[in-house]
Subunit: 163 residues, 2 copies
């Protein structure tokens, strides 16, 4: 049985429910923010378990710089959650990273077409939080935003916050 | 990275959020019912995808009777969601099935001890719905309840509803 379906279906249920609860005047702002917060805590949890698994196998991950963290997010972390790697990683070498996914799983349920673009933020908020939470538990504070041009492609922008 | 962690963490987030929204007078009843409903739709979705995958591979599942459906739930379905099989399946041969999981994943986050037993229904409602939804999309109407004696073991009781 397809195992990734479970995550996708559960993610849809959460969006629907949070949307029904938080819908109101503020243009989906509260809904998006709740979903981002959930993603943040799940991202933190995934890294916690990853670190404790690494301790168990004595296969401690070593990151020598910021770029190493981002490569880990694009490869291991993305594959674990979305069953594929990020297609393209770019950086300005000044703390901004752009992670492009050409076929983002959580958007593929949404029909393509401009009329659906307005719903995209709800389908992306959890993942923005997920990346922010993962980085946070790796000791990196960041701001994560996202942009969709043609569905189901999207670009996550990670701005590392210097201490 | 541990892939099952994603489902467990997301499941916890849902419980917390639904609980915070639906908490009130009716003794968790609304919270449990919302979670059960989410599980129902996710269970339906998992079976839909399973059936469409089977069509694709021409590996159509064949069920000759009610017991076959239940064996499928205990083996393939449970493994796909919880990474283990149901430990024990019993039936009275009159439409009642008891599925025992001796180490139910979604309870293992809860501390054992009697004082936590009151929270167990919230941690089990989604799964009751999951089983009911899966069976429903296999054409079997049922009522699914659950009972915990010593955590993290639990028994799901499935009562098949005759048409």
């Amino acid at each position: 049985m397809a195992e990734e379906a479970l995550f996708q279906l559960l993610h849809s249920e959460i969006i629907q429910y949070v949307n029904s609860v938080e819908s109101g005047e503020s243009e989906n702002g509260r809904c998006v923010s709740k979903l981002e917060g959930m993603g943040f805590r799940v991202g933190q949890g995934l890294i916690e378990r990853h670190i404790s698994d690494c301790r168990f196998t004595k296969d401690t991950p070593r990151f020598k710089d910021e770029l190493d963290f981002m490569k880990f997010i694009c490869k291991d972390f993305w594959t674990s959650v979305f069953k594929k790697q990020i297609d393209n990683l770019r950086t300005n070498h000044q703390g901004i990273y752009v992670l492009q996914d050409n076929k983002f799983r959580l958007l593929s349920q949404l029909s393509s077409g401009k009329q659906y673009l307005e719903h995209a933020p709800k389908f992306l908020a959890f993942t923005c939080g997920l990346v922010r939470g993962a980085l946070s538990n790796l000791g990196v504070k960041s701001i994560v935003t996202v942009e969709v041009s043609v569905m189901p492609a999207c670009k996550f922008q990670v701005m590392i916050q210097k201490m």
